[in-house]
Symmetry: C4
Subunit: 240 residues, 4 copies
């Protein structure tokens, strides 16, 4: 069963509002979804703050990140994050790029982000991306061309999340609900691990087996928080 | 004096809204109350986010956690937390299960959660549950069957709170107001202890005697925050 | 120029709403003001959450903390904090008692709370109260009788703030605006110092001279935040 | 192209509301903009909380910080921060002064504030100001006369931000949007660095080259968060 294009666009707009309302993105960051009918394309807002996105702002992009129907409107500089992730990961149906604040410390610290509880079990295989390794010490850190997108996708590998040093993170899911779920719990787990480290004792992280089992258990549960977050985001929008 | 069933259901709905509004639960977590007329049964919402629960969502469960009037609606996977707690603890009238974020670090750290101030005096005897001890290293950490519920209840013993490693906590009370009070101050005390540890000096926790005296003093005061939290939760719901 | 009794009551109600809205108190904590016409009396709400206080809830108390016009309504167990502070400190015109969360760690840690910035210069002489020193290791920590109130006032001495181990703080001011100002910046300074300590370097606190100069400079500025906080508190009340 | 005076005043009012709404200022702190027609003058609110500022509260100040049209209304004690910054830095078109809480620890700690991610690349050259060096150990820390303003401007040098020990920060921009952008991300970066330090590992900050490249990339992006923050601030004002 395929979701229709108009329904997919509607869900993508909701996803934009949720990640903003949950503090995963502010004026920056973006969410995309693979095109429901053409797997070599994806849908992504034109360049604007996610909380302000409406259906009319969604732009179709091709496999190289070129906008097909922008009509002269500005598109995101970092659209290549999405294009190259979809190309290299056929299993990925949705992508969130964020600078959520609790995650940044793990992108610049030698301390590894690890799953502290079952909600964040997908963090078991978190990848890291150091732009300097290939592009030198004088970039603006942005994934602003296909080549950088390609190396980022390579760093992501088969993981659910890749941390971009001094920049943020990219989170993927098998559908929009899963990608949004993960983006929210990535931020929460980062805050939890920071506090756990601050306690100074020994920490027991999830085992690989627990993480795998938890990821499957969570996959069946993403509709519940989506319904809640969607309701909350719409309520706060209505107050504007 | 027994509270009527309809009044109990109303209070349980309010308790759901309070724990959501106070940040104790998000899309996940649940609150239950022992049935006012049949002490071998308990009331618990169908499977949904607590902030969205209404009276029509409350389902009666039997002593084994089987829903009696769900009418085909999905029930919580972890209802056995409640069933086995009520079975083993006749003094317990209400149960909160939560993943509140400041508490998770104490579930995975070797540092013990302890009462920092009189509001959290009930933490004096906090118990811990390590699912691996009996169920191995490859579970999804969920309390998804009666056997796991039983071992969790055994770990709880006579305590007010049990921390589930890599998962969350279970808090009990002699009535709904006390269980909710404790769930809120559990989260606050965890944040306070984390900050106290970060200061790096010596910490003076409550003595056992102070904790016991404080717990009794607090028992007389749970109506005051309940009135406030209830008002706040309803106000925010009205804005939706 | 003396403020009239009705105007004083109105300001005390506003003070209650501000300390709640600013997160200084939750369901617990209280604010009082010395009676504008009878300096041996003070005004304090009946026992309830500060955010819910209205003019009709204000009760006149005598110098021993006895309510004069409660008409059978419950009064705060800890009214002796206020009574004994007013008795021992003729310069004090208003008192805030709070359990604000960033302050509790300093009440139980060997690390001393100190003024980190000019807004909190009044913390230069912060006092500490250990109830065990006189009342033993088995109290419920509450200031529930005149004798405890007296020893707390003795601990406060000429300071602006006294930290009660495992309990909270008492903040005094030369008027309501100053007491509220200090209660808010006490909490903020505690958070700031916690973060400064976490950085791990050397910390430069205010000198005594800077603190004294800052306290006088701030005394002329308390109307500005009061106007803001009052507006914010009333706006949020209007949404209920 | 010069923005008209009335448009500039409108933007300055919005800037005041944004910095308040984003938690950069509370009852204290201020924002100014260089006069669009007379580069030796600047616009700054009369003395009041930024969130309450309207167009009628904007006062024109001359190069020495003297108000030209206050009409007897109180002006900010620290207007010399702005006057002396505009005098010494012809490239600066807007100035924010703030006590935002995550930044204060870096003003009193020996640990240096550094850019953790591209959004805060402008922090590469952050300056520090120690009032004691010239004005002794008994000031009230305020920049309350032209001489203090001058020494502060000297400390700022060519940097984007100067930290005032035990006081706060001053942030400058090439236009209002950039100054506000920097004031918000200064606070965020401070929180991020505090958490990164708490993790205890090695930290990789931005290189000088990355910081310079990032600052130019961000300059093209300040309109996006401004549009979002402006909308959010106006929405919350409408609820009053």
């Amino acid at each position: 069963m395929t979701t229709s294009l108009s329904e997919t666009i509607k869900q993508l707009v909701t996803a934009n509002h949720i990640v903003a309302d949950q503090g995963v993105v502010d004026g920056f960051g973006h969410v995309s979804v693979r095109h429901p009918e053409r797997s070599d394309r994806f849908l992504l807002s034109r360049s604007m703050a996610p909380s302000r996105v409406g259906p009319e702002d969604i732009v179709e992009h091709d496999e190289n990140g070129a906008p097909l129907d922008a009509g002269g409107r500005a598109v995101y500089v970092e659209r290549f994050i999405h294009a190259e992730t979809y190309r290299s990961r056929p299993d990925v149906m949705a992508v969130v790029h964020s600078h959520s604040p609790s995650v940044i410390p793990f992108s610049i610290s030698s301390v590894k982000l690890r799953p502290c509880y079952h909600m964040a079990s997908f963090l078991n295989d978190t990848a890291r991306f150091e732009i300097r390794e290939r592009f030198g010490r004088d970039t603006d850190l942005l994934i602003s061309d296909p080549d950088k997108g390609r190396y980022l996708a390579r760093a992501l590998g088969n993981a659910s999340v890749v941390l971009l040093r001094g920049h943020g993170s990219v989170t993927v899911g098998r559908d929009l609900q899963e990608a949004v779920f993960r983006a929210v719990y990535l931020e929460l787990n980062a805050r939890i691990q920071t506090n756990a480290v601050a306690l100074g004792g020994e920490i027991e992280f999830l085992t690989d087996e627990e993480a795998h089992a938890g990821t499957e258990a969570n996959a069946a549960q993403t509709a519940r928080p989506w319904a809640l977050w969607s309701e909350q985001a719409q309520a706060r929008r209505a107050m504007r």
